[in-house]
Amino acid sequence: MVLVRNLRPPTEGVRHEEANTTAVLSGQQLGCGTLYVAETRLSWFDGSGMGFSLEYPSISLHAISRDVSAYPEEHLYVMVNGKLEKAAEEEDDDGSDSSNGDEEEVITEIRFVPRDKASLESMFSAMCECQALHPDPDDEDSDNDFEGEEYNVEEADGMEVDAAVAEAGQFEDADVEH
């Protein structure tokens, strides 16, 4: 999550690419560039190759803002968990803005302002799709046991047979769906 130079834009899995997009990082205008909504990460690069990449797990939320009273231009708003630092500066965890103690999470607000406002919905949807590809790996609370023993659809359906009873080639004439 740092500003880098000479990083190449992603070429694979790009769900949406939007040129002529201004990036505003924590209120600071970074200039005009291209936003790449790729399956692996969200990136933005200006013409000179300077830019940044965000990992989806670090993104708390994203939204389309058309409320010009809140911000003068329609844009894609992204809230990132954590701080984005310029590569030249040291990452300082005791940063001056976050001196409220351990409970306050540091966030970074990024606005992507495309020249073509009609693209906002595609940009938003592409981000939704990519975000869904990165579920929270740290989620210990929910019962995500895919192979859970409690799941007994076979018994309910009555289609599965005991291994002892199955004959070789028994299902060879069944439709193959895979």
């Binding site: 797990p57 993104i59 708390s60 939320l61 994203h62 939204a63 389309i64 803002s65 058309r66 409320d67 809140a70 911000y71 708003y77 968990n81 306050e104 999470e105 966030i107 919905e121 938003f124 981000m127 939704c128 975000q131 869904a132 579920p135 929270d136 740290d138 989620d139 929910s142 019962d143 995500n144 046991d145 895919f146 192979e147 859970g148 409690e150 799941y151 659809v153 076979e154 359906d157 289609m159 599965e160 005991d162 291994a163 439709d175 769906e177 895979h178």
Partner: protein, 134 residues
Amino acid sequence: MEPEAVESATVGVEVVNSIRERTIAENSMVVLLQGLQGEVTTVDLRDESSARGLVLNVDAFMNIRLKDVLFLDRRGQTAQLQDLFITGRNVRYVHIPDHVDIMKTMESQLAKIHRVRNFAGEGGGRKEFGGRKK
């Protein structure tokens, strides 16, 4: 219905993800949230901000899509957002509207999941957990 060969080729990973999501949802309270689709409600985020809007979708990972949102950031400033996607990890609370019957909502969501699964398992549909041996 599309021919099965075409369906298998184009649906692929999405089917697996849907199966996985249905299993996750079925085994957690997220089914309740999924039943809030179409309701206007408030979602409180971990960082003390909150969003009130129409629930468009909640997936198994508790990622929530809201529409026509009033967003109250943690500093107390409001903003209107047309579409909002909140990552599941950042959700602290989802308010259940008073008029929502929690048990009925969960039962109807589970019934939907079972209907989809039975449709997939019978006849020519793709069988979930195909190949799983006892």
